[in-house]
């Protein structure tokens, strides 16, 4: 059932062209972490609108004119979901499961996924971008901070990988 994954170099070249197309048409690269920040902002705006006013970090997403979700990167992330769904569908890879190593329990895996997500979301806001919005986009335009960011990701992950080996191996 699982069709073999594509050659990473070929994928890299295609991704490079997609990124280049984004730069050529929009003058900016791709990204997705902002989407989740905007979802959080929309949630705050919905439940406690006065909380996110004046000086709050989320206030930059909120304007009277349009919803915080009416943004370029939100649409890009929606597209990414559709594209991923299409690809998974045509190679029969849509299969409900919790990805983990053979020695890992489901609930501990999900807790770690939640914690990892929290760290990721927090770090993406701190660094003003994620692996795609900061590392991929910034590195290809040779932005200095983005290269530092990219190597920091690898450093952080390699330094702690040992402690999570049971989760994956």
């Amino acid at each position: 059932m699982n069709v073999r994954y594509a050659n990473p170099y070929v994928i890299g070249v295609l991704l490079g062209f997609i990124l280049l197309f984004s730069f050529y048409t929009m003058g900016r690269g791709v990204g997705s972490s902002e989407t989740f920040s905007r979802i959080a902002a929309a949630g705050v705006d919905l439940t406690a609108p006065q909380h996110a006013e004046e000086g709050h970090y989320f206030s930059k997403y909120l304007s009277k004119k349009r919803s915080p979700l009416m943004a370029w990167l939100v649409f890009l992330t929606l597209g990414a979901g559709l594209g991923g769904l299409f690809s998974a569908f045509i190679s029969h890879r849509i299969k409900g499961e919790v990805v983990r190593g053979p020695l890992m329990g489901v609930s501990s895996r999900l807790w770690l996924a939640l914690l990892g997500g929290i760290l990721s979301g927090f770090a993406a806001r701190l660094a003003r971008g994620c692996t795609s919005g900061q590392a991929l986009t910034g590195a290809s335009e040779l932005a200095f901070g983005s290269w530092v960011f990219m190597f920091s990701i690898f450093a952080g992950a390699y330094a702690t990988a040992y402690f999570f080996r049971k989760e994956w191996l």
Binding site: A40, G81, S120, Y158
Partner: protein
């Protein structure tokens, strides 16, 4: 001349449709590479499968070369491309934390979306975590504000910091990428599962590597910075005119181009 949006070729609503299109292909290729699976992604940290590094470096190199050649040919005005500003300390710490989040949670933001749509529950939980993490950051923002702005260097590129021209930097990046491919393939052969690693003929790989280096060499000799600077001083008006001349194709051509420059504040990620 690109970037088309900055020259007023289309409006905000149309740009959202383009975002959807770009996103579609983005998600599609990520899933093709197997990046909807946390074990495939994290295998890089156990030296078994370097697909993540190969995809990232190749995409960066291809896009970088494309941008610089486009700039040399005068197809894109790099000064109108949004360059991510450097805030060295938050980016270093953010990178380290994100690395830990990656190996702990198994995904990065975009790949978790791809995982979620292929029905991986951990991907969905990771997304929930990211929303929560963003919320926590926003709540702590008053405390973090000083650090968030620390080490601000403006929109600097490697060429500005190292004081070398961008073409030479591009050559170094190409050489680094080829070197990295060579090293990680050796490592993979040793630690990885040979049955699942991608094949590919040595001859094609060698030819591609040679092509990369040649493209980098040409850039190093041509020096795109100099050409872009020359063009900017020679005809600052002409570039804008060119954009306007083609504007009738765009639906909202009457609008002044300046209103399109407004969405600058959140162009990062």
């Amino acid at each position: 001349m690109g970037p088309l949006y900055k020259f007023g070729w289309f409006d905000f609503a149309y740009s959202l449709q383009i975002a959807g299109l770009i996103g579609f292909f983005f998600g599609f290729v990520l899933e093709r590479a197997g990046f909807g699976d946390a074990r495939k992604l994290t295998a890089i940290f156990y030296l078994r499968d370097f697909a993540v590094l190969k995809v990232m470096f190749t995409a960066i190199v291809v896009c970088m070369i494309g941008l610089l050649y486009f700039s040399v040919f005068g197809w894109i005005d790099l000064s109108r491309v949004y360059i991510l500003p450097t805030y060295i300390w938050p980016q270093t710490v953010g990178g380290l934390v994100m690395g830990v989040g990656f190996v702990m949670g198994g995904y990065c933001p975009t790949t978790s979306v791809v995982a979620t749509v292929s029905a991986k529950l951990d991907g969905l939980v990771f997304i929930g975590g990211m929303i929560l993490g963003s919320f926590i950051f926003a709540e702590l923002f008053p405390l973090l504000k000083g650090f968030y702005e620390a080490g601000s260097m403006g929109a600097v590129r490697l060429s500005d910091v190292l004081k070398i021209n961008a073409g030479l930097i591009a050559l170094f990046v190409c050489l680094m990428a080829v070197g990295a491919y060579w090293v990680v393939e050796k490592v993979e052969q040793r630690f990885g599962d040979r049955g699942t690693l991608p094949g590919g003929s040595r001859r094609i790989k060698g030819a591609a590597a040679a092509l990369l280096i040649v493209l980098g060499l040409i850039l190093a000799i041509v020096n795109p910075d100099r050409i872009a600077a020359k063009r900017a001083t020679a005809s600052p008006v002409e570039a804008v005119k060119k954009g306007e001349a083609t504007e009738p194709i765009a639906p909202k051509a009457e609008k002044p181009a300046s209103i399109h420059f407004k969405i600058v504040e959140d162009e990062g990620c």
